[in-house]
Amino acid sequence: MTDTTEARPDPLPSAAPPLSEPSSWHELHLTVNGRPIRAQVESRLLLSDFLRARLSLTGTHVGCEHGVCGACTVLVDGEPVRSCLTLAVACEGASLRTVESLADEEGQLTDVQRAFHEQHAMQCGFCTAGFVMSCTAMVEAPERPAEDEVADQLSGHLCRCTGYRNIRAAVEQVLDDRYGKAGEEK
């Protein structure tokens, strides 16, 4: 990631097309996947489009663009949020994590990613990045989330392939590893 955009229009080849209408621009400072970023952004730029088009972090998928499907979920200051319902400019000073932050440079998967792989918790994979980010926040919680809290988190994501059974199995695998099986001390 090399975005340290100073001039406009954005020099990246993936930059958004030229504006047809005037709008205000702002200098934005934030941290994305541990790296400090400085960029010029238009007021109306959604966080999802900032990540995908300006930073080329296309692991964050965009489904419905009005907050229903959850595919675009990223972590803002540790909490899962809809990047399509968040303005990039409103993230001044925030620390963001996307799915690209998970596996390390050697391709070593995180517990959540490995569990999704082992439990076959995906088919087409379009929704997966969003699920994985919400699940990452869940397994980083200080206490094991209750079963209905897990269901509540997962209900914020639409998956049209799996029927959710394997996704739940993946979450439970990670939670069992971390906190011991439900109802028994580790």
Binding site: L19, E21, P22, S23, S24, H26, E42, S43, R44, L46, D49, E65, H66, G67, G70, T73, V76, E79, P80, V81, R82, C84, L85, T86, L87, V89, A90, E92, S134, A151, D152, Q153, S155, G156
Partner: protein
């Protein structure tokens, strides 16, 4: 699905924010959590020319229990923060329960309590809970501050008593009477959807065993949260625990008879009336179990 162009400011103080709102040249909107506004921007149902982000104003980001025992929630406070606050769940558990029905955790992490109230979708949970809890709104504008009761605040779908140059700075909830039980029940096709019909119930148990005070407020039953005095009267008529089931059934029947809900793609009016009766009886039973 991209917003039309607009300008954006994030003032650090309330007077600064009010100056931006006083702009007579441009259409100005307040942005807090954005979980209702940004979908409307994306679909271009709203095309403001200036957004004033109020989440950077420190005095709006506080939640506290005041000297008189009332809960005050500032306009910058997120729903998720209120949902886990122990003072809220101890004193105003109806609020905690209502927030649990809003969208999904990922939405509640951004959405604010005051934002949902000001947006005033008649199917939303918080306006209904606010009316049941006799909430009071603190408004600031160029002419100073004023306080508006919930009953006067909610006018019609997406319309409140808030003027274009005003901001809701906080919402306050008075301390609830002792031995008050609560329940927020709703029916939706899927978890997290807007309610097809929902009801908030507060019951205060009399020392003698009957009902001292009752609040019954429906959501998604009209163009604003709908308090139903006929159902409340039926509950107040309960003469001791042995006759409670009759009183709950009478309240349910009153709801079915009195409600005039809309028919839309989610449900028709007759379905809503029938569901309202069942939900209200269920909510009364649950609220009564929680009186203490």
């Amino acid at each position: 699905m991209k917003p039309a162009p607009f300008d954006y400011v994030a003032p650090g103080t309330l007077p600064e924010a009010l100056r931006f709102l006083a702009d007579e040249e441009r259409e100005v909107k307040v942005l807090a959590g954005g979980q209702s506004l940004v979908p409307m921007l994306n679909m271009r149902l709203a095309r403001p020319e200036l957004l004033v982000d109020i989440t950077r104003i420190p005095e709006l980001r506080t939640l506290d229990v005041e000297g008189d025992g009332a809960l005050r929630i500032g306009a910058g406070v997120r729903q998720a923060a209120v949902a886990v606050d122990p003072a809220v769940s101890a004193g105003w558990p109806l609020l905690t329960e209502a927030i649990g029905h809003i969208g999904h955790p990922q939405i509640r992490n951004r959405g604010t309590v005051c934002g949902s109230l000001v947006h005033h979708d008649p199917a939303a949970e918080l306006p209904t809970a606010a009316l049941a809890l006799d909430a009071r709104f603190d408004l600031s504008g160029p002419a100073g501050t004023r306080t508006v009761d919930a009953d006067d605040f909610f006018l019609s779908t997406f319309l409140t008593a808030l003027e274009a140059d005003e901001i809701v700075t906080s919402v306050r909830f008075a301390a609830q009477p002792h031995r008050t039980g609560w329940s927020f029940e709703e029916l939706a096709r899927r978890r997290g959807d807007f309610a097809a019909i929902g009801v908030a119930v507060l019951l205060t148990r009399a020392e003698a065993g009957g009902v001292d005070r009752a609040r019954v407020v429906f959501c998604a039953a009209g163009s604003r949260p709908l308090r139903l005095p006929e159902a409340e009267d039926a509950l107040l008529a309960a003469e001791g625990p042995e006759r409670l089931d009759d009183a709950f059934a009478a309240a349910g029947a009153a709801a079915r008879a009195r409600l005039d809900p809309p028919s839309d793609v989610h449900a028709d009016a007759e379905w809503r009336r029938e569901a309202a009766e069942i939900l209200l009886v269920r909510a009364c039973n649950r609220a009564w179990e929680r009186t203490r």
